[in-house]
């Protein structure tokens, strides 16, 4: 073994599947001078990898999890450390059978071979299943069992053999040293201290699984995860399994309705459960390698928690009842408050990276994400926004929140989760100044990273009748699933806004301010479009990754000669704030302030919006005096006296109006004034169902994280402007190159031409990655391997159709092209209705006319 070093380019902490694969991928990408340490012995240092059940079901509704699962499975296959045993998710209930139809849909999207089996067909694959218990199954032949310990060993050895990394087992990390930086409170790693010595390091990666938050805390950073128990019992010997003479001879069975799985392991069956009560441990409660009876993450089994699962397992496979329980553990794995991994540079400490909350099934792929991110400034294999550790706000990073949310979703690991499913725990973390007023209007609140946002107002129920919503085809939906987390009231709000006007609470907007002599120049460095315009100008602009894909999409306003205000969405605030702070110049010429808590925002839109606002201000609100895109500082008359506000003439719903920015404390007076003035103009409180969905999609407005991801560029998204500014900006070179070639794909709006399913019910695709198919049911994949799938879906009340947004290869992206969408495993005809433009008011007359 080499001598313990005193400095290194990169120190990776943790030699589980993630840390090992990470050094392997980094070595492939040319990194050298790396050190890998683990407090435990090799090859099994005692983390979650060592007791993992080691199987991969490649179908997931979530794009990142699905594609990185497939990517990981392929990496295991490439190493020769994988067996395709197949797997079957069985349904005991009609609700699960419906869910399996949705699994079929996602399998189609991601190109994974799958089929539905009758109960008898399940028994042909797995003869020991009791067919009386199940309705059928979802069979996926490419489900694989992998050797994660050996794969990690091989990946590590590859990096060692390349001379890229020195490995030190049984080496305990004691501290991570940092220094302050000019980057607005961010510090930066300088060294790690271990029981073998101190190593100065440029980068430190935390790949410590269940211990990751404790390790990050050493540097003043957080990795929001909790070590959680997943119970497993190994029962055997069982003759029919032993007779296969194989580690895995039968497909793995996931008994989805009992949240259990049965996985052969040679002559035994491993029964694992996500059904027991949530059992969490603080990292300090995890024993050391010395103290542990087995390994630190194989904690003592608590049999009372497993009894019900045993009964259910025996129901499904009677032979299990007489098999002996040879090994049973409370195995620890990592859970996060939103059930997604924690990848990327930590939001508190520069050059401290997180590669945590990653399970064996996605370990190699996630490690590749982090390696590419460190190398290229952003991953190439996939847009990681769902896993980006910077996504968390402060209130999501404490144990109270982590434990509560993890307790809520643990039993949903195999659950049936609706795309719009709302959290029950930890609500009302952030509310707008209008919260009590919204409650009085009987708002249905949807949560967004802690923020409460009205999705619709039940006080508007009268609009359903007034606008004859059912007769228009937008009444209550035929299936409970489609109708869940939805209301026709939102259609009434939409039509009222189109006819009169609506007031939308936008206080969850994340508002940042750059100030100082370098602010405008720095803002231009972040943005594709020009920021250095006269004070009072606004710019709607993408931010790009270094490779020219979407990194963000937001509005920037030059509010003073040395000040730029940045307004971004609530789902992207954390990520965007970190991106800004990370890229800030070192010379102190720019300061960063988060103004979210100071500034409230209301959106007033509709043909009557100018009259409503006109009653409260004498400012010229005409299109000529106050054109679309302009910003004006005005005084608004309220019962509490004049309120200073910034008006921004912009719209995300397709009707004219303003975003109104005011001091948080002035919000209630402003709200009341607008409603008083608007009463005779038909004003109604209007929810996110219109703002984020129907109004937006009718106009084809793109949404970051849906239509806009790093895999696509502004040319493909239809957001490239005629000219490119002279100033340099992140991703400029790639953007220039993209402009020089014809786009491979284009963002399109499609109409569903017939929503009737084979049972005669009208169905409503939800925007959950449903695949767009050719007329004969084939997947559509562009020459970059990107699949056409629904990125957003919404009713279009003003156009009388259900609308979808999707990228299509350019050759299919022409108005009038007939295609299909798959939804709940049925195919429905769709037609391309708009490209770059919109299906509603394509000339923007209502905005600018």
């Amino acid at each position: 073994m080499s001598e313990f070093p005193t400095n290194a380019k990169v120190v990776v902490v943790g030699a589980g599947i993630v840390g090992n694969c990470l050094v392997g991928h980094l070595a492939d990408l040319g990194w050298t001078d790396m050190v890998l340490i683990d407090k435990g012995p090799l090859p099994n240092p005692g983390g979650s990898t060592g007791h993992a059940s080691n199987f991969i079901f490649p179908v997931d509704h979530n794009k990142e999890m699905a594609l990185l699962g497939v990517q990981s499975a392929n990496q295991y296959r490439h190493l020769g450390l994988s067996v395709d045993c197949g797997g079957i998710e069985v349904a005991r209930t009609p609700q699960r059978w419906d869910e399996l139809q949705r699994r079929m849909t996602s399998a189609k999207t991601w190109g994974v071979e799958a089929e539905l089996l009758t109960a008898a067909e399940v028994a042909e694959h797995v003869p020991f299943v009791d067919t009386d218990v199940i309705l059928g199954g979802f069979y996926c032949p490419s489900v694989s069992v992998v050797d994660s310990l050996e794969a990690g060993t091989v990946m590590r050895a590859k990096a060692v053999n390349a001379g890229a990394v020195d490995v030190f087992a049984s080496t305990e990390l004691l501290d991570i040293e940092t220094i302050d930086t000019p980057h607005n409170g961010l510090s930066k790693v300088t060294a790690v201290v271990t029981d073998k010595g101190r190593v100065e390091a440029e980068y430190v990666v935390v790949a410590c699984g269940v211990w990751s938050n404790r390790v990050a805390n050493l540097a003043g950073a957080t990795i929001p995860l909790v070590p959680a128990v997943h119970q497993m019992a190994d029962v055997g010997p069982i003759d029919i399994l032993a007779e296969t003479n194989n580690e895995i001879g039968y497909p793995i069975v996931r008994d989805m309705d009992t949240f259990c799985y049965e996985r052969q392991s040679a002559g035994s069956m491993e029964v694992g459960s996500y059904a027991h009560r949530p059992i969490f441990h603080h990292p300090d409660e995890i024993p050391s390698n010395d103290e542990a009876a087995l390994t630190p993450t194989e904690m003592p089994f608590t049999p009372d928690d497993f009894d019900q699962q045993m009964e259910q397992a025996i129901e499904l496979m009677d032979m299990l009842g007489d098999a002996e329980i040879k090994y049973a553990i409370n195995g620890l794995l990592s859970l996060t408050p939103d059930a997604m991994p924690c990848l990327g540079e930590t939001a508190e400490v520069l050059h401290l990276w997180s590669a945590a909350a990653v399970w064996v099934k996605e370990g190699p792929g996630m490690a590749q994400v982090v390696a590419e991110w460190m190398t290229y400034g952003y991953p190439r294999v996939i847009d990681p926004h769902g896993a980006d550790i910077a996504r968390f706000y402060d209130w999501e990073r404490n144990d109270e929140h982590i434990w509560a949310r993890c307790a809520e979703h643990f039993n949903k690991t195999y659950g049936i989760v609706h795309p719009a499913e709302q959290w029950v725990s930890r609500r009302e973390l952030a509310t707008s100044p209008y919260f009590s007023r919204q409650k009085a209007y009987q708002a249905e609140f949807f949560e967004a990273r802690g923020w409460e946002r009205p999705q619709w107002y039940n006080s508007n129920a009268d609009l359903v009748e007034r606008y004859d919503v059912p007769a228009r085809g937008f009444g209550r939906r035929d299936t409970e699933w489609d109708d869940r987390w939805w209301s026709p009231v939102t259609i009434g709000e939409h039509l009222n806004l189109r006819q009169h006007c609506g007031l939308v609470d936008l206080s969850a907007f994340q508002i940042f301010e750059l100030r100082g002599p370098g602010a405008v120049g720095f803002a231009d460095f972040l943005a594709v479009n020009k920021i250095d315009k006269p004070v009072g100008s606004s710019t709607y602009t993408p931010w790009l990754t270094p490779d020219g894909g979407f990194r963000s999409d937001l509005t920037m306003m030059r509010t003073a000669i040395d000040t730029v205000r940045i307004v971004t969405g609530v789902f992207d605030g954390g990520r965007d704030a970190f991106w800004i702070r990370k890229h800030m110049p070192d010379d102190g010429s720019v300061s960063f302030t988060d103004r979210t808590a100071d500034i409230t925002t209301l959106g007033l839109w509709g043909p009557n919006a100018p009259q409503v606002l006109g009653e409260l201000t004498d400012h010229d609100l005409s299109q000529s005096g106050f054109p679309h895109g302009a910003i004006r500082e005005v005084e608004i008359r309220t019962a509490a006296g004049p309120v200073r506000a910034t008006l921004f003439r912009i719209s995300y719903v397709g009707d004219t109006g303003w975003e109104i920015y005011a001091n948080w404390a002035d919000g209630p007076a402003l709200w009341d004034a607008l409603f008083d003035a608007g009463e005779s103009h038909g004003i109604r409180p209007t929810g996110g169902g219109v703002y984020g969905s129907s109004g937006r999609v009718e106009k084809g407005y793109r949404l970051m994280g849906a239509e806009l991801e790093s895999e696509y560029n502004p040319v493909e998204a239809g957001l490239a402007r005629p000219k490119v500014k002279a100033a340099d900006f992140i991703g400029k070179q790639a953007y220039l190159e993209a402009r020089e070639v014809a786009p491979i794909a284009k963002m399109c709006t499609l109409t569903v031409e017939d929503q009737t399913d084979t049972q005669g019910r009208r169905r409503h695709p939800q925007g959950g990655n449903e695949p767009i198919l050719t007329g004969d049911g084939q997947r559509i994949v562009d020459s970059h391997g990107r699949v056409s799938r629904v990125t957003s879906a919404s009713p279009g009340p003003s156009v009388g159709k259900h609308l979808l947004m999707a990228y299509l290869p350019t050759e299919l992206a022409s108005v009038g092209t007939d295609l299909e969408v798959m939804y709940v495993n049925e195919r429905f005809p769709v037609r391309v209705a708009a490209i770059e433009g919109s299906v509603f008011d394509p000339e923007d007359i209502r905005l600018k006319g």
Partner: protein
């Protein structure tokens, strides 16, 4: 007449790699440890279940300890015990005299309602305190013959049923074989058998078994724990000889070096 066997077991911390002590040094810190039945007693239960299976009879398992000791009773039931009895304590350790007195009373109580136990099995010693004396004290209190260190048990039948028991234990240069008239008491040692694991059905059945329970009452004896001390840790080194087939030559070399065979 059906054979009646009683096993006395104790809830003890599962032995981990390193046993931590509480700050005051008077107990094992079980924070990171699960709990189990003392290994000798697991063998006693297995032996009892096998005897009952072969000869026909019932196995009662008795424990004295905190309410959580129910887990160990259920475990015994999951591998075949028929009746469970808990003499509950407040969780504080009881000295051997006190334990033995309470157990002897419990056995008398159990034998008042039903037949005398033909055979009572103890583990040779408990895995935690290792006093080596509770069984002997109970035998003395009940005035029954008792032998410790037993690694083989055979029942001898006369006309009506079992009349005596032969019990064998290892000594330095061979075996000692005892024949005890029934009722008798034996202290069993690990190695007498290989205890079975519970089956899933056995575990589930064990949950349905009723447990007789009462508060233990007995005066403390004269023996008190002063403090525990951890012996100096023995360090060991692990050498990885290689992976997969590539490790074979090194394994062969090592086996030869250890004298397993000659080349």
């Amino acid at each position: 007449m059906a054979l009646r066997i009683l096993c006395c077991v104790k809830r003890v911390p599962s032995p981990g790699s390193r046993i931590n002590l509480t700050d005051d040094g008077t107990a094992v810190d079980a924070t990171h440890l699960g709990f189990t039945t003392s290994p000798h007693e697991e063998c006693a239960v297995e032996e009892a279940v096998v005897l009952a299976e072969h000869e026909g009879g019932t196995v009662t398992v008795l424990t004295l300890g905190p309410p959580e000791s129910v887990e160990q009773l259920r475990y015994a039931a999951s591998v075949g015990a028929d009746e469970l009895v808990l003499v509950a304590t407040d969780g504080a350790p009881w000295d051997p005299q006190r334990t033995a007195a309470a157990l002897a009373e419990a056995i008398k109580r159990l034998e008042t309602d039903q037949e005398t136990f033909d055979l009572i099995l103890f583990g040779n010693e408990s895995a935690d305190s290792g006093g080596f004396q509770v069984g002997v004290r109970v035998a003395n209190a009940l005035q029954r013959p008792m032998v410790n260190g037993i690694k083989r048990i055979e029942l001898n039948f006369d006309g009506d049923g079992p009349g005596s028991v032969s019990a064998r234990r290892a000594v330095d240069d061979g075996f000692e074989v005892y024949e005890l008239p029934l009722p008798a008491i034996l202290g069993v040692k690990e190695g007498i058998n290989l205890p079975r694991y519970p089956t899933m059905r056995g575990r589930l059945a064990s949950k349905k078994l009723e447990i007789s329970s009462w508060e233990g009452e007995a005066a403390p004896g004269g023996q008190a724990l002063v403090r525990l001390r951890r012996p100096v840790e023995q360090t060991s080194t692990t050498t990885i000889l290689g992976n997969s087939a590539a490790a074979a030559p090194a394994v062969v070399d090592l086996l030869e070096e250890l004298g397993v065979f000659d080349r």
